[in-house]
Protein backbone atom coordinates (compact mmCIF):
# COMPACT_ATOMS: atom_id res chain seq x y z
CA UNK A 1 0.00 0.00 0.00
CA UNK A 2 2.79 2.37 0.95
CA UNK A 3 4.68 1.64 -2.24
CA UNK A 4 1.79 2.83 -4.34
CA UNK A 5 1.69 6.05 -2.40
CA UNK A 6 5.34 6.89 -2.76
CA UNK A 7 5.31 6.46 -6.53
CA UNK A 8 5.64 9.66 -8.56
CA UNK A 9 5.02 11.80 -5.55
CA UNK A 10 5.82 15.46 -5.97
CA UNK A 11 6.62 17.71 -3.08
CA UNK A 12 5.37 21.25 -3.06
CA UNK A 13 5.89 24.09 -0.67
CA UNK A 14 2.33 23.86 0.61
CA UNK A 15 2.73 20.20 1.29
CA UNK A 16 5.91 20.60 3.29
CA UNK A 17 4.18 22.99 5.66
CA UNK A 18 1.02 21.07 6.31
CA UNK A 19 1.76 17.38 5.97
CA UNK A 20 1.91 15.66 9.29
CA UNK A 21 4.61 13.10 9.83
CA UNK A 22 2.11 10.25 9.92
CA UNK A 23 0.95 11.06 6.38
CA UNK A 24 -2.68 10.98 7.46
CA UNK A 25 -4.48 13.86 5.81
CA UNK A 26 -8.08 13.10 6.77
CA UNK A 27 -8.84 11.38 10.04
CA UNK A 28 -12.41 10.25 10.62
CA UNK A 29 -13.09 8.83 14.06
CA UNK A 30 -16.35 7.36 15.33
CA UNK A 31 -18.35 9.34 12.80
CA UNK A 32 -22.13 8.99 12.95
CA UNK A 33 -24.64 11.16 11.15
CA UNK A 34 -28.34 10.67 11.82
CA UNK A 35 -31.13 12.56 10.09
CA UNK A 36 -33.97 11.96 12.49
CA UNK A 37 -34.57 8.22 12.31
CA UNK A 38 -32.35 7.76 9.30
CA UNK A 39 -28.90 6.60 10.33
CA UNK A 40 -26.97 7.75 7.27
CA UNK A 41 -23.51 7.08 8.71
CA UNK A 42 -22.89 4.75 11.63
CA UNK A 43 -19.65 4.77 13.59
CA UNK A 44 -17.16 5.06 10.76
CA UNK A 45 -13.42 5.12 11.46
CA UNK A 46 -11.28 5.90 8.45
CA UNK A 47 -7.98 7.52 7.59
CA UNK A 48 -7.09 8.94 4.21
CA UNK A 49 -3.38 9.13 3.55
CA UNK A 50 -1.57 11.93 1.84
CA UNK A 51 -1.25 11.61 -1.92
CA UNK A 52 -3.60 8.71 -2.50
CA UNK A 53 -6.73 8.36 -4.55
CA UNK A 54 -9.21 7.06 -2.04
CA UNK A 55 -12.52 5.64 -3.19
CA UNK A 56 -15.73 5.22 -1.25
CA UNK A 57 -17.61 2.46 -2.97
CA UNK A 58 -21.19 1.55 -2.27
CA UNK A 59 -24.72 1.48 -3.64
CA UNK A 60 -26.90 4.60 -3.83
CA UNK A 61 -28.09 5.67 -0.42
CA UNK A 62 -25.26 3.88 1.39
CA UNK A 63 -24.10 7.09 3.08
CA UNK A 64 -21.17 8.00 0.84
CA UNK A 65 -22.33 11.57 0.17
CA UNK A 66 -23.10 12.15 3.84
CA UNK A 67 -19.57 11.08 4.74
CA UNK A 68 -18.20 13.58 2.24
CA UNK A 69 -20.51 16.27 3.65
CA UNK A 70 -19.03 15.69 7.09
CA UNK A 71 -15.52 16.20 5.67
CA UNK A 72 -16.69 19.34 3.86
CA UNK A 73 -18.16 20.77 7.04
CA UNK A 74 -21.72 21.08 5.71
CA UNK A 75 -23.28 18.46 7.93
CA UNK A 76 -22.95 18.27 11.70
CA UNK A 77 -21.95 14.84 12.96
CA UNK A 78 -24.27 13.25 15.50
CA UNK A 79 -21.18 11.70 17.05
CA UNK A 80 -17.47 11.50 16.32
CA UNK A 81 -15.21 13.95 14.57
CA UNK A 82 -13.39 14.63 11.34
CA UNK A 83 -9.88 16.07 11.35
CA UNK A 84 -8.54 17.47 8.09
CA UNK A 85 -4.86 18.46 7.99
CA UNK A 86 -4.84 18.55 11.76
CA UNK A 87 -7.89 20.79 12.07
CA UNK A 88 -11.28 19.82 13.45
CA UNK A 89 -13.80 20.41 10.65
CA UNK A 90 -16.53 21.46 13.05
CA UNK A 91 -14.36 23.98 14.89
CA UNK A 92 -12.26 25.40 12.08
CA UNK A 93 -14.68 24.96 9.21
CA UNK A 94 -13.50 27.91 7.16
CA UNK A 95 -9.80 27.02 7.41
CA UNK A 96 -10.57 23.44 6.41
CA UNK A 97 -12.79 24.52 3.52
CA UNK A 98 -9.95 26.62 2.07
CA UNK A 99 -7.86 23.47 1.67
CA UNK A 100 -10.63 21.50 -0.06
CA UNK A 101 -11.65 21.41 -3.70
CA UNK A 102 -15.20 20.20 -4.13
CA UNK A 103 -17.35 18.71 -6.81
CA UNK A 104 -20.83 17.76 -5.67
CA UNK A 105 -23.22 15.41 -7.43
CA UNK A 106 -25.04 18.35 -8.95
CA UNK A 107 -22.66 20.44 -10.99
CA UNK A 108 -23.83 23.76 -9.46
CA UNK A 109 -23.33 26.00 -12.45
CA UNK A 110 -24.94 29.43 -12.61
CA UNK A 111 -27.01 29.36 -15.84
CA UNK A 112 -26.10 32.76 -17.20
CA UNK A 113 -22.35 32.79 -16.64
CA UNK A 114 -19.74 31.84 -19.21
CA UNK A 115 -17.17 29.21 -18.32
CA UNK A 116 -14.37 31.67 -17.60
CA UNK A 117 -16.70 33.81 -15.49
CA UNK A 118 -17.72 30.77 -13.46
CA UNK A 119 -14.09 29.96 -12.71
CA UNK A 120 -13.48 33.56 -11.69
CA UNK A 121 -16.52 33.58 -9.41
CA UNK A 122 -15.88 30.23 -7.72
CA UNK A 123 -12.19 31.03 -7.14
CA UNK A 124 -13.31 34.38 -5.76
CA UNK A 125 -15.51 32.62 -3.22
CA UNK A 126 -12.25 31.32 -1.71
CA UNK A 127 -10.73 34.82 -1.92
CA UNK A 128 -8.50 33.57 -4.70
CA UNK A 129 -8.47 36.15 -7.47
CA UNK A 130 -7.43 34.81 -10.85
CA UNK A 131 -6.43 36.84 -13.88
CA UNK A 132 -8.07 36.09 -17.21
CA UNK A 133 -4.90 34.38 -18.46
CA UNK A 134 -4.74 32.16 -15.37
CA UNK A 135 -8.38 31.22 -15.92
CA UNK A 136 -7.81 30.40 -19.59
CA UNK A 137 -4.79 28.29 -18.64
CA UNK A 138 -6.90 26.36 -16.15
CA UNK A 139 -9.65 25.78 -18.72
CA UNK A 140 -7.07 24.72 -21.32
CA UNK A 141 -5.84 22.08 -18.94
CA UNK A 142 -9.30 20.55 -18.88
CA UNK A 143 -9.57 20.82 -22.65
CA UNK A 144 -12.15 23.59 -22.36
CA UNK A 145 -10.17 26.57 -23.69
CA UNK A 146 -12.35 26.85 -26.79
CA UNK A 147 -15.45 26.89 -24.63
CA UNK A 148 -14.27 29.72 -22.37
CA UNK A 149 -17.02 31.98 -23.67
CA UNK A 150 -19.73 29.34 -23.79
CA UNK A 151 -22.52 28.82 -21.28
CA UNK A 152 -22.56 25.52 -19.43
CA UNK A 153 -25.82 24.39 -21.05
CA UNK A 154 -23.95 24.36 -24.37
CA UNK A 155 -21.53 21.71 -23.09
CA UNK A 156 -21.70 17.93 -23.47
CA UNK A 157 -21.98 15.75 -20.37
CA UNK A 158 -18.26 14.99 -20.41
CA UNK A 159 -17.39 18.66 -20.81
CA UNK A 160 -19.68 19.60 -17.94
CA UNK A 161 -17.98 17.07 -15.71
CA UNK A 162 -14.54 18.39 -16.71
CA UNK A 163 -15.80 21.90 -15.94
CA UNK A 164 -16.92 20.70 -12.50
CA UNK A 165 -13.38 19.40 -11.97
CA UNK A 166 -11.90 22.71 -13.12
CA UNK A 167 -14.07 24.49 -10.55
CA UNK A 168 -12.99 21.95 -7.93
CA UNK A 169 -9.35 22.97 -8.25
CA UNK A 170 -9.72 26.69 -8.99
CA UNK A 171 -8.73 27.45 -5.39
CA UNK A 172 -5.63 25.25 -5.65
CA UNK A 173 -6.75 22.79 -2.97
CA UNK A 174 -4.58 20.16 -1.30
CA UNK A 175 -7.49 17.75 -1.10
CA UNK A 176 -9.98 17.21 -3.89
CA UNK A 177 -13.34 15.68 -2.98
CA UNK A 178 -15.39 14.38 -5.88
CA UNK A 179 -18.87 12.97 -5.47
CA UNK A 180 -19.56 10.53 -8.30
CA UNK A 181 -17.35 12.30 -10.83
CA UNK A 182 -18.20 9.96 -13.71
CA UNK A 183 -21.84 9.06 -13.16
CA UNK A 184 -23.76 9.18 -16.41
CA UNK A 185 -20.70 9.53 -18.64
CA UNK A 186 -19.92 7.31 -21.62
CA UNK A 187 -16.79 5.12 -21.35
CA UNK A 188 -14.60 7.50 -23.32
CA UNK A 189 -15.57 10.55 -21.26
CA UNK A 190 -15.11 8.49 -18.13
CA UNK A 191 -11.54 7.64 -19.09
CA UNK A 192 -10.82 11.32 -19.75
CA UNK A 193 -12.00 12.12 -16.21
CA UNK A 194 -9.86 9.31 -14.80
CA UNK A 195 -6.81 10.75 -16.56
CA UNK A 196 -7.50 14.14 -14.99
CA UNK A 197 -7.94 12.64 -11.52
CA UNK A 198 -4.61 10.80 -11.85
CA UNK A 199 -3.01 14.08 -12.89
CA UNK A 200 -4.38 15.89 -9.84
CA UNK A 201 -2.84 13.23 -7.68
CA UNK A 202 0.47 13.43 -9.55
CA UNK A 203 0.59 17.11 -8.59
CA UNK A 204 0.59 16.10 -4.96
CA UNK A 205 -3.11 16.48 -4.24
CA UNK A 206 -5.02 13.87 -2.32
CA UNK A 207 -8.23 12.73 -3.99
CA UNK A 208 -11.29 11.33 -2.24
CA UNK A 209 -14.08 10.18 -4.51
CA UNK A 210 -17.28 8.20 -4.37
CA UNK A 211 -18.45 5.80 -7.00
CA UNK A 212 -20.78 2.92 -7.53
CA UNK A 213 -18.83 1.69 -10.54
CA UNK A 214 -16.74 -1.34 -9.58
CA UNK A 215 -14.32 -1.04 -12.47
CA UNK A 216 -13.74 2.62 -11.64
CA UNK A 217 -12.83 1.82 -8.05
CA UNK A 218 -10.63 -1.04 -9.18
CA UNK A 219 -8.71 0.89 -11.85
CA UNK A 220 -8.47 4.33 -10.33
CA UNK A 221 -8.24 4.03 -6.57
CA UNK A 222 -5.26 3.12 -4.45
CA UNK A 223 -7.47 2.21 -1.56
CA UNK A 224 -11.18 1.57 -1.31
CA UNK A 225 -13.59 1.77 1.56
CA UNK A 226 -16.73 -0.24 0.93
CA UNK A 227 -19.76 1.44 2.46
CA UNK A 228 -23.08 -0.28 3.00
CA UNK A 229 -26.02 1.02 5.02
CA UNK A 230 -23.90 3.72 6.63
CA UNK A 231 -21.13 1.40 7.75
CA UNK A 232 -17.61 0.89 6.51
CA UNK A 233 -17.55 -2.86 5.91
CA UNK A 234 -14.16 -3.24 4.26
CA UNK A 235 -11.06 -1.14 3.68
CA UNK A 236 -8.04 -2.15 1.61
CA UNK A 237 -6.38 -1.89 -1.78
CA UNK A 238 -8.49 -3.30 -4.64
CA UNK A 239 -6.09 -6.26 -4.94
CA UNK A 240 -6.14 -6.80 -1.19
CA UNK A 241 -9.93 -6.82 -1.10
CA UNK A 242 -10.11 -9.41 -3.87
CA UNK A 243 -7.37 -11.52 -2.24
CA UNK A 244 -9.15 -11.45 1.08
CA UNK A 245 -12.16 -12.94 -0.62
CA UNK A 246 -10.23 -16.14 -1.51
CA UNK A 247 -12.83 -16.45 -4.22
CA UNK A 248 -12.79 -18.93 -7.02
CA UNK A 249 -12.07 -18.15 -10.66
CA UNK A 250 -14.54 -19.15 -13.30
CA UNK A 251 -13.40 -20.93 -16.47
CA UNK A 252 -15.78 -20.86 -19.38
CA UNK A 253 -15.40 -22.99 -22.50
CA UNK A 254 -17.56 -24.52 -25.24
CA UNK A 255 -15.84 -27.90 -25.16
CA UNK A 256 -18.02 -30.98 -24.52
CA UNK A 257 -16.43 -33.23 -21.89
CA UNK A 258 -17.91 -35.69 -19.41
CA UNK A 259 -18.85 -33.72 -16.33
CA UNK A 260 -17.56 -36.33 -13.88
CA UNK A 261 -14.07 -36.23 -15.39
CA UNK A 262 -13.97 -32.44 -15.26
CA UNK A 263 -15.11 -32.46 -11.65
CA UNK A 264 -12.19 -34.75 -10.81
CA UNK A 265 -9.60 -32.28 -12.13
CA UNK A 266 -7.34 -30.51 -9.61
CA UNK A 267 -8.76 -27.31 -8.13
CA UNK A 268 -12.29 -27.74 -9.49
CA UNK A 269 -15.01 -26.83 -7.02
CA UNK A 270 -18.02 -27.00 -9.30
CA UNK A 271 -19.25 -27.47 -12.86
CA UNK A 272 -22.40 -26.13 -14.45
CA UNK A 273 -23.75 -25.44 -17.89
CA UNK A 274 -24.98 -22.20 -19.34
CA UNK A 275 -26.29 -22.91 -22.82
CA UNK A 276 -23.32 -24.13 -24.88
CA UNK A 277 -20.87 -23.04 -22.26
CA UNK A 278 -19.43 -25.22 -19.57
CA UNK A 279 -18.61 -23.11 -16.51
CA UNK A 280 -15.92 -24.57 -14.29
CA UNK A 281 -15.39 -23.03 -10.89
CA UNK A 282 -11.87 -23.48 -9.55
CA UNK A 283 -9.56 -22.35 -6.81
CA UNK A 284 -6.53 -23.13 -8.96
CA UNK A 285 -7.14 -21.86 -12.46
CA UNK A 286 -3.67 -22.80 -13.71
CA UNK A 287 -3.94 -26.49 -12.77
CA UNK A 288 -7.52 -26.79 -13.94
CA UNK A 289 -6.76 -25.36 -17.39
CA UNK A 290 -3.84 -27.76 -17.68
CA UNK A 291 -6.14 -30.66 -16.76
CA UNK A 292 -8.79 -29.51 -19.23
CA UNK A 293 -6.18 -29.43 -21.97
CA UNK A 294 -5.17 -33.01 -21.18
CA UNK A 295 -8.80 -34.18 -21.14
CA UNK A 296 -9.41 -32.46 -24.46
CA UNK A 297 -6.51 -34.33 -26.05
CA UNK A 298 -7.71 -37.64 -24.60
CA UNK A 299 -11.21 -37.09 -26.02
CA UNK A 300 -9.80 -35.79 -29.33
CA UNK A 301 -11.47 -32.45 -28.94
CA UNK A 302 -10.26 -28.93 -29.38
CA UNK A 303 -10.19 -26.68 -26.35
CA UNK A 304 -11.78 -23.54 -27.84
CA UNK A 305 -13.37 -20.32 -26.68
CA UNK A 306 -11.75 -20.53 -23.27
CA UNK A 307 -11.96 -17.58 -20.88
CA UNK A 308 -10.95 -17.24 -17.25
CA UNK A 309 -12.79 -14.73 -15.14
CA UNK A 310 -10.91 -13.64 -12.05
CA UNK A 311 -12.96 -12.54 -9.06
CA UNK A 312 -13.39 -8.75 -9.01
CA UNK A 313 -14.76 -6.11 -6.67
CA UNK A 314 -18.28 -6.99 -7.70
CA UNK A 315 -17.71 -10.43 -6.17
CA UNK A 316 -16.21 -8.84 -3.08
CA UNK A 317 -19.27 -6.69 -2.68
CA UNK A 318 -21.64 -9.60 -3.14
CA UNK A 319 -19.64 -11.70 -0.68
CA UNK A 320 -19.75 -8.92 1.93
CA UNK A 321 -23.35 -7.83 1.57
CA UNK A 322 -25.08 -10.75 -0.09
CA UNK A 323 -26.35 -8.29 -2.69
CA UNK A 324 -25.40 -6.92 -6.06
CA UNK A 325 -24.32 -3.26 -5.82
CA UNK A 326 -27.14 -2.08 -8.11
CA UNK A 327 -29.91 -3.84 -6.24
Amino acid sequence: MKSILSAERTTTALEAVTTTSSGIIIDIAGLSVFYGDVKAVRGVNLQVEHGEIFGLLGPNGAGKTTMLSAIEGIVKPTAGRVIVLGRDVQKQTEEVQRTLGISLQSTAFFDELKLWELVKLYAGMYEVFLSKSEILALLARFDLAEKANALTRQLSGGQQQRMALALAICNDPQIVILDEPTTGLDPQARRAVWAIIRELRAEGRTVVLTTHYMEEAQELCHRIGIIDRGELIALDTPAGLIRSLKADSLISTTIRLPESEVEALPGVTGVRWEGDHMLVQTNDAQETVFGLQKLAVEHRQLLTDLTIKQPDLEDVFIALTGRNIRQ
Binding site: I74, R98, E117, L121, G124, F129, D172
Partner: protein, 270 residues
Protein backbone atom coordinates in the same frame (compact mmCIF):
# COMPACT_ATOMS: atom_id res chain seq x y z
CA UNK B 1 0.06 24.67 -14.93
CA UNK B 2 -0.03 23.46 -11.38
CA UNK B 3 2.79 25.81 -10.51
CA UNK B 4 0.84 28.50 -12.27
CA UNK B 5 -2.09 27.86 -9.99
CA UNK B 6 0.12 27.79 -6.96
CA UNK B 7 1.69 31.17 -7.57
CA UNK B 8 -1.61 32.97 -7.85
CA UNK B 9 -2.55 35.75 -5.53
CA UNK B 10 -3.73 34.70 -2.15
CA UNK B 11 -4.76 37.58 -0.01
CA UNK B 12 -6.69 37.72 3.18
CA UNK B 13 -8.43 40.06 5.54
CA UNK B 14 -10.89 42.82 4.95
CA UNK B 15 -9.65 43.96 1.55
CA UNK B 16 -10.01 40.43 0.16
CA UNK B 17 -13.51 40.20 1.60
CA UNK B 18 -14.46 43.48 -0.06
CA UNK B 19 -12.89 42.41 -3.33
CA UNK B 20 -14.81 39.16 -3.18
CA UNK B 21 -18.04 41.05 -2.51
CA UNK B 22 -17.50 43.29 -5.52
CA UNK B 23 -16.81 40.19 -7.63
CA UNK B 24 -20.15 38.78 -6.49
CA UNK B 25 -21.97 42.01 -7.34
CA UNK B 26 -20.37 41.99 -10.78
CA UNK B 27 -21.18 38.32 -11.45
CA UNK B 28 -24.77 38.77 -10.28
CA UNK B 29 -25.12 41.82 -12.51
CA UNK B 30 -24.02 39.78 -15.54
CA UNK B 31 -26.46 37.02 -14.64
CA UNK B 32 -29.23 39.54 -14.24
CA UNK B 33 -28.84 41.34 -17.54
CA UNK B 34 -28.52 38.01 -19.37
CA UNK B 35 -31.73 36.68 -17.85
CA UNK B 36 -34.39 37.24 -20.49
CA UNK B 37 -37.34 36.73 -18.15
CA UNK B 38 -36.00 39.33 -15.73
CA UNK B 39 -35.32 41.78 -18.52
CA UNK B 40 -38.85 41.35 -19.86
CA UNK B 41 -40.83 41.55 -16.61
CA UNK B 42 -38.68 44.12 -14.84
CA UNK B 43 -37.68 46.44 -17.68
CA UNK B 44 -39.80 45.99 -20.80
CA UNK B 45 -43.17 45.07 -19.34
CA UNK B 46 -43.63 48.18 -17.12
CA UNK B 47 -42.48 50.46 -19.93
CA UNK B 48 -44.82 48.69 -22.34
CA UNK B 49 -47.68 49.17 -19.89
CA UNK B 50 -46.86 52.86 -19.68
CA UNK B 51 -46.94 53.18 -23.46
CA UNK B 52 -50.30 51.38 -23.62
CA UNK B 53 -51.83 53.46 -20.81
CA UNK B 54 -50.48 56.56 -22.48
CA UNK B 55 -51.86 55.57 -25.87
CA UNK B 56 -55.31 55.00 -24.35
CA UNK B 57 -55.59 57.91 -21.97
CA UNK B 58 -53.25 60.38 -23.61
CA UNK B 59 -52.75 63.38 -21.43
CA UNK B 60 -55.97 62.92 -19.51
CA UNK B 61 -55.80 64.54 -16.11
CA UNK B 62 -57.01 63.14 -12.83
CA UNK B 63 -58.59 65.14 -10.11
CA UNK B 64 -59.63 68.70 -10.86
CA UNK B 65 -58.67 69.90 -14.37
CA UNK B 66 -56.79 72.83 -12.91
CA UNK B 67 -54.38 70.62 -10.98
CA UNK B 68 -52.67 69.60 -14.22
CA UNK B 69 -51.88 66.14 -12.84
CA UNK B 70 -51.87 63.78 -15.82
CA UNK B 71 -52.66 60.10 -15.55
CA UNK B 72 -49.19 59.24 -16.82
CA UNK B 73 -47.54 61.24 -14.04
CA UNK B 74 -49.75 59.40 -11.57
CA UNK B 75 -49.10 55.88 -12.83
CA UNK B 76 -45.37 56.16 -13.51
CA UNK B 77 -44.42 55.89 -9.80
CA UNK B 78 -46.87 52.97 -9.65
CA UNK B 79 -45.13 51.26 -12.54
CA UNK B 80 -41.79 51.79 -10.80
CA UNK B 81 -43.28 49.92 -7.84
CA UNK B 82 -44.52 47.20 -10.21
CA UNK B 83 -40.97 46.83 -11.47
CA UNK B 84 -39.65 46.60 -7.92
CA UNK B 85 -42.19 43.87 -7.16
CA UNK B 86 -41.37 41.80 -10.24
CA UNK B 87 -37.71 42.18 -9.49
CA UNK B 88 -37.89 41.42 -5.81
CA UNK B 89 -40.78 39.15 -5.01
CA UNK B 90 -41.06 37.14 -8.24
CA UNK B 91 -37.48 37.45 -9.49
CA UNK B 92 -35.56 36.93 -6.29
CA UNK B 93 -37.72 34.05 -5.05
CA UNK B 94 -37.31 32.33 -8.42
CA UNK B 95 -33.57 32.89 -8.51
CA UNK B 96 -33.02 31.58 -4.99
CA UNK B 97 -35.16 28.50 -5.64
CA UNK B 98 -33.21 27.93 -8.84
CA UNK B 99 -29.88 28.24 -7.02
CA UNK B 100 -31.11 25.74 -4.49
CA UNK B 101 -32.39 23.26 -7.05
CA UNK B 102 -29.18 23.40 -9.08
CA UNK B 103 -27.14 22.64 -5.96
CA UNK B 104 -25.48 26.05 -6.03
CA UNK B 105 -26.39 26.87 -2.42
CA UNK B 106 -24.90 23.55 -1.25
CA UNK B 107 -21.78 24.26 -3.26
CA UNK B 108 -21.51 27.75 -1.75
CA UNK B 109 -21.88 26.17 1.68
CA UNK B 110 -18.71 24.16 1.01
CA UNK B 111 -16.73 27.35 0.35
CA UNK B 112 -15.58 29.93 2.92
CA UNK B 113 -18.11 32.38 1.44
CA UNK B 114 -20.99 33.05 3.86
CA UNK B 115 -24.23 32.66 1.90
CA UNK B 116 -25.43 35.97 3.39
CA UNK B 117 -22.74 37.71 1.32
CA UNK B 118 -24.14 36.13 -1.84
CA UNK B 119 -27.64 37.33 -0.97
CA UNK B 120 -26.47 40.78 0.08
CA UNK B 121 -24.51 41.21 -3.15
CA UNK B 122 -27.73 40.53 -5.05
CA UNK B 123 -29.61 43.10 -2.96
CA UNK B 124 -26.96 45.74 -3.66
CA UNK B 125 -26.84 44.95 -7.38
CA UNK B 126 -30.61 44.86 -7.82
CA UNK B 127 -31.17 48.05 -5.86
CA UNK B 128 -28.83 49.78 -8.31
CA UNK B 129 -30.77 48.27 -11.20
CA UNK B 130 -34.02 49.54 -9.67
CA UNK B 131 -32.65 53.08 -9.49
CA UNK B 132 -31.63 52.81 -13.14
CA UNK B 133 -35.02 51.37 -14.09
CA UNK B 134 -36.83 54.17 -12.26
CA UNK B 135 -34.73 56.74 -14.11
CA UNK B 136 -35.52 55.04 -17.42
CA UNK B 137 -39.28 55.06 -16.75
CA UNK B 138 -39.32 58.65 -15.58
CA UNK B 139 -37.34 59.68 -18.65
CA UNK B 140 -39.74 57.78 -20.93
CA UNK B 141 -42.77 59.44 -19.36
CA UNK B 142 -41.19 62.86 -19.69
CA UNK B 143 -39.97 62.42 -23.26
CA UNK B 144 -42.96 60.53 -24.68
CA UNK B 145 -45.83 61.96 -22.64
CA UNK B 146 -44.46 65.23 -21.41
CA UNK B 147 -45.06 64.23 -17.79
CA UNK B 148 -43.80 66.61 -15.13
CA UNK B 149 -42.27 65.88 -11.75
CA UNK B 150 -40.83 67.78 -8.91
CA UNK B 151 -37.03 67.46 -9.27
CA UNK B 152 -36.30 67.74 -5.54
CA UNK B 153 -39.15 65.24 -5.04
CA UNK B 154 -37.50 62.73 -7.39
CA UNK B 155 -34.36 62.80 -5.29
CA UNK B 156 -36.26 62.41 -2.05
CA UNK B 157 -38.09 59.38 -3.55
CA UNK B 158 -34.74 57.66 -4.17
CA UNK B 159 -34.28 56.18 -0.66
CA UNK B 160 -37.82 54.73 -0.86
CA UNK B 161 -37.03 53.06 -4.18
CA UNK B 162 -34.01 51.44 -2.56
CA UNK B 163 -35.96 50.50 0.57
CA UNK B 164 -38.77 49.05 -1.54
CA UNK B 165 -36.32 46.99 -3.55
CA UNK B 166 -34.85 45.59 -0.34
CA UNK B 167 -38.29 44.87 1.18
CA UNK B 168 -39.60 42.99 -1.84
CA UNK B 169 -36.37 41.05 -2.28
CA UNK B 170 -36.68 40.01 1.35
CA UNK B 171 -40.25 38.90 0.69
CA UNK B 172 -39.01 36.85 -2.28
CA UNK B 173 -36.34 35.39 -0.05
CA UNK B 174 -38.99 34.41 2.50
CA UNK B 175 -41.16 32.69 -0.11
CA UNK B 176 -38.13 30.78 -1.41
CA UNK B 177 -37.35 29.71 2.15
CA UNK B 178 -40.89 28.54 2.90
CA UNK B 179 -41.61 26.80 -0.39
CA UNK B 180 -39.28 24.07 -1.61
CA UNK B 181 -39.75 23.51 -5.31
CA UNK B 182 -38.83 26.08 -7.94
CA UNK B 183 -42.10 25.55 -9.84
CA UNK B 184 -44.24 25.99 -6.73
CA UNK B 185 -42.26 29.07 -5.76
CA UNK B 186 -43.12 30.71 -9.06
CA UNK B 187 -46.84 29.95 -8.61
CA UNK B 188 -46.87 31.23 -5.03
CA UNK B 189 -45.13 34.49 -5.91
CA UNK B 190 -47.60 35.09 -8.75
CA UNK B 191 -50.51 34.47 -6.40
CA UNK B 192 -49.10 37.02 -3.95
CA UNK B 193 -48.04 39.43 -6.66
CA UNK B 194 -51.46 39.67 -8.31
CA UNK B 195 -53.48 41.28 -5.51
CA UNK B 196 -50.51 43.43 -4.57
CA UNK B 197 -50.45 44.68 -8.15
CA UNK B 198 -54.17 45.43 -8.52
CA UNK B 199 -55.01 46.57 -4.99
CA UNK B 200 -51.83 48.52 -4.33
CA UNK B 201 -52.94 51.72 -6.03
CA UNK B 202 -50.28 51.34 -8.66
CA UNK B 203 -52.33 52.70 -11.57
CA UNK B 204 -55.45 54.05 -9.93
CA UNK B 205 -55.97 55.86 -6.66
CA UNK B 206 -56.95 53.52 -3.86
CA UNK B 207 -59.79 55.95 -3.06
CA UNK B 208 -61.51 54.91 -6.27
CA UNK B 209 -62.02 51.39 -4.86
CA UNK B 210 -64.99 50.19 -2.80
CA UNK B 211 -64.59 50.74 0.94
CA UNK B 212 -63.93 47.12 1.91
CA UNK B 213 -61.19 46.83 -0.72
CA UNK B 214 -59.68 50.07 0.53
CA UNK B 215 -59.50 48.48 3.96
CA UNK B 216 -57.53 45.56 2.54
CA UNK B 217 -55.42 47.80 0.40
CA UNK B 218 -54.12 49.82 3.32
CA UNK B 219 -52.33 46.78 4.70
CA UNK B 220 -50.52 45.88 1.50
CA UNK B 221 -46.79 46.60 1.11
CA UNK B 222 -47.40 47.68 -2.48
CA UNK B 223 -49.80 50.41 -1.32
CA UNK B 224 -47.29 51.58 1.27
CA UNK B 225 -44.44 51.67 -1.23
CA UNK B 226 -46.52 53.34 -3.93
CA UNK B 227 -47.36 56.07 -1.38
CA UNK B 228 -43.76 56.47 -0.29
CA UNK B 229 -42.50 56.78 -3.87
CA UNK B 230 -45.37 58.74 -5.40
CA UNK B 231 -45.97 61.40 -2.77
CA UNK B 232 -42.54 63.09 -3.01
CA UNK B 233 -42.37 62.67 -6.79
CA UNK B 234 -45.66 64.49 -7.26
CA UNK B 235 -45.26 66.82 -4.29
CA UNK B 236 -46.04 69.88 -6.42
CA UNK B 237 -49.52 68.43 -7.10
CA UNK B 238 -50.22 67.97 -3.38
CA UNK B 239 -51.78 64.54 -3.73
CA UNK B 240 -53.05 62.94 -0.59
CA UNK B 241 -51.28 59.65 0.35
CA UNK B 242 -53.50 56.63 1.08
CA UNK B 243 -51.68 55.98 4.33
CA UNK B 244 -49.98 58.58 6.53
CA UNK B 245 -46.22 58.67 5.88
CA UNK B 246 -45.19 57.36 9.30
CA UNK B 247 -47.66 54.46 9.05
CA UNK B 248 -46.46 53.54 5.58
CA UNK B 249 -42.85 53.57 6.70
CA UNK B 250 -43.63 51.58 9.82
CA UNK B 251 -45.74 49.07 7.89
CA UNK B 252 -43.20 48.43 5.21
CA UNK B 253 -40.45 48.06 7.82
CA UNK B 254 -42.62 45.47 9.54
CA UNK B 255 -42.85 43.55 6.24
CA UNK B 256 -39.06 43.76 5.94
CA UNK B 257 -38.38 42.52 9.46
CA UNK B 258 -40.96 39.75 9.15
CA UNK B 259 -39.60 38.58 5.81
CA UNK B 260 -35.98 38.60 6.96
CA UNK B 261 -36.94 36.65 10.09
CA UNK B 262 -38.87 34.07 8.05
CA UNK B 263 -36.08 33.66 5.51
CA UNK B 264 -33.47 33.23 8.21
CA UNK B 265 -35.61 30.78 10.17
CA UNK B 266 -36.64 28.59 7.24
CA UNK B 267 -33.63 28.92 4.93
CA UNK B 268 -33.02 25.67 3.05
CA UNK B 269 -29.66 24.67 1.59
CA UNK B 270 -31.08 21.96 -0.62
Amino acid sequence: MATNARTMTRTGGRSATFRRFMLLVQANFLMYIRNKAAMFWVVLFPIGLMLIFGAIYGNQTIGPESSGLTLISFITPGLIVLSIMSNGLVGNAGAMANFREKGILRRVQTTPLPVAHLILSRVVMQSCIMIGQAALMLATSVVVFNARYDVAGLLSALPWIVLGSVVFMAMGQAVAALVRKEETVSVVTQVINFPLMFLGGLWMPVTSMPDWLQGVSKFLPSTMLADLVRTPMLSSFHIEPTIPFAMALLGITAYLVGSVALSARFFKWS
